[in-house]
């Protein structure tokens, strides 16, 4: 058994699709426990038993449509019109628009591709130094992960609900829990941008259009956060319903009213977005099977006992958790990490008196750093490919931003109130 496990690990490291690795380990587990292998299909069919999963394709569609439309451009010119008076304002614009955008696209790399193409040349033109630009854009690609309705936040909620730990984890509470920690990241990064550019002369003409016109131009996109959050918190929509309304709204606006996406482009964009969704859902499906096996085999309990033998206090547990998650984030993408690891560590964390909501925020904050961690952080590669820069340049350029985010993660981890205060837990 350990030999086979090692073999699977090697195959994963050499680039076998993760769903195949997880499916293989589930099948092996079943076989070992004399369970009919057809049980795998029963577990995959459970995908059709979770209504909240609908939110995943619907928000993803909305995000991809926004990315292909003129929305990023309008968003940039609006933030420029509103914040253009700050020193280092363009950097601030980059951070804010990216955070907003990533909340909708779920850090799939879409942000760097859609917004980076606009912001990078603009920053260059405004005379910011090269390393700063690259670092900023690469970091911004995963900023906003903690803001509703980001996909990883929803997926954490789904996985946590499947793992029964006796404490309620609802997705709308998670959305609230993410607000302050997400804002902390945004504020600290903004502070760094302003400090880094403190000697720069104020840009005379960064804004191209006045605030009034920029507001009018973005009038169709601006209601989006209110539809999502307003709808959910007024009790009017469930999360998946808010996703349906958002998808329909974006579809009607970008294809029907603004006509920035032509009808013949639509199938291509829909396919692209669903390729990503399919990749996530099949991993979720087979991991329902492998998790089920692990729980039947009592692995979470044994893990808890083992951790308790070695870790005495909540504080040491959190320190080890941070180290483990940072390593995990550097190796696994956020979606696979969520479905594979959350069912195992959630019961342990609850045993150490960590609130499931707080754990979710810690988890995602660590994973966000994983996107930037050398040698294989995903955003580093996307940016290196997109801006045609050597990967080593990107390691260097993102380092200061990485350190700031690391500081945020520490604050988020050791100050639970930041995540739980607004929820009232």
């Amino acid at each position: 058994m350990p030999l086979i496990g090692l073999g699977l690990l090697l195959l994963a490291l050499f680039g076998a699709p993760l769903f195949a690795i997880i499916a293989a380990s589930a099948l092996l587990g079943y076989w070992h426990a004399n369970i009919d292998l057809a049980a795998l299909a029963v577990e995959v069919y459970r995908l059709a038993e979770m209504p909240v999963l609908l939110a995943i394709p619907l928000f993803t569609l909305a995000g991809y449509l926004l990315g292909e439309s003129g929305a990023p451009k309008r968003l940039v010119s609006l933030s420029q019109a509103l914040f253009g008076w700050l020193p280092g304002s363009l950097a601030a614009v980059a951070l804010i628009t990216c955070a907003f955008f990533t909340a909708f696209t779920g850090a799939s790399g879409v942000t760097i591709i859609a917004l980076g193409a606009l912001l990078y040349p603009a920053l260059q033109q405004a005379g910011y130094d090269e390393d700063f630009n690259l670092g900023l854009i690469t970091t911004s690609g995963s900023l906003g992960l903690l803001f509703a309705p980001s996909l990883p936040l929803i997926l954490y909620g789904i996985v946590a609900q499947q793992t029964d730990v006796g404490k309620l984890v609802s997705i709308d509470q998670l959305f609230i829990a993410g607000i302050l920690p997400g804002s902390l990241m945004l504020v600290l990064l903004l502070g760094y941008c302003l400090w880094h550019n403190r000697h720069r002369v104020r840009q005379q003409q960064t804004r191209k259009v006045g605030p009034g016109r920029a507001l009018r131009e973005a009038a169709w996109e601006l209601p989006l956060p209110f539809i999502v959050l307003g709808g959910i918190y007024s009790g009017y929509f469930a999360v998946s319903e808010a996703a349906a309304v958002t998808a329909l709204y974006v579809l009607v606006v970008e294809v029907g009213i603004l006509r920035e996406i032509k009808l013949h482009q639509l199938p291509v964009i829909i396919r692209q977005s669903m390729v990503m969704v399919g990749g996530i859902l099949i991993i979720l499906g087979v991991s329902l099977a492998s998790t089920n096996y692990l729980i039947d085999a009592g692995v979470p309990e044994r893990l808890f006992v083992w951790v308790q033998e070695h870790v005495s206090s909540r504080l040491t547990f959190l320190i080890w958790l941070n180290i483990f998650l940072l390593l995990l984030g550097a190796l696994l993408d956020i979606f696979s990490a969520l479905v594979l690891v959350v069912p195992l560590i959630l019961p342990v964390a609850v045993g150490f008196n960590v609130d499931p909501l707080h754990l979710g925020i810690i988890f995602l904050a660590n994973m966000q750093i994983g996107y930037l961690t050398p040698p294989i952080g995903l955003n580093l590669f996307i940016a290196s490919y997109r801006f045609e820069k050597p990967i080593l340049t990107l390691y260097r350029a993102t380092l200061p931003f990485l350190l700031i985010l690391l500081l945020c993660v520490l604050i988020i981890t050791y100050w639970p109130w930041l995540s739980l205060g607004l929820v009232g837990r």
């Binding site: 499916a23 609908l54 394709p57 990749g279």
Partner: protein, 167 residues
């Protein structure tokens, strides 16, 4: 043989696109209709919530088939990035064969599950036979296995061609 594979590829892609688009657009409209109906008419369609969840399963499965066609399944490629080109082909071959084998196994056992369900006569959406909707699982795994078999074949052919020395 090559032409047959190319035609299959084209047809397959077309069917995938058609399915993906119609499943997703049905999902959007039906989900929004449910909200409107619930708030204006007092209650939505009775079967709609269950049907939406089945749509999601189908969308996920078809999406996964599309992802494997484009080689966009989620994976870690730490080591393969560092390998020299020749070994890269080898590692791709091994991982593709492995994936094809696992997916074939999944497809086989999933079809057993579907047949059992058919015999048992489970129903969804009132009285519709459940096995029809569940059949998407073995079919999708089968198609993914097929994609990886084709991919391995292509890699193997490439290896052999490379080894025949040019005159």
């Amino acid at each position: 043989m090559k032409r047959l594979l190319e035609t299959l590829d084209r047809v397959g892609r077309g069917v995938e696109n058609l399915l993906i688009c119609s499943l997703l657009l049905t999902m959007v409209s039906l989900a929004v209709w449910q909200i409107v109906a619930r708030n204006l008419l007092g209650s939505g369609l009775l079967w709609a919530d269950e049907f939406l969840k089945i749509l999601l399963l189908w969308l996920g499965m078809v999406g996964a088939v599309a992802a494997s066609r484009e080689g966009k399944q989620i994976q870690i490629d730490v080591l393969s990035r560092l390998l020299p080109d020749r070994f890269k082909v080898m590692s791709e071959l091994v991982t593709s064969l492995f994936t094809a084998a696992v997916c074939s196994l999944c497809a086989w056992h999933a079809s057993r599950f579907v047949l059992m369900e058919r015999e048992f006569g489970s129903t969804v959406l009132g009285s519709a036979p459940a096995w029809v909707f569940e059949a998407v699982i073995p079919v999708a795994f089968g198609l993914i296995a097929y994609r990886y078999i084709v991919a391995s074949g292509r890699l193997l052919l490439g290896l052999f061609r490379e080894e025949t020395p040019c005159p």
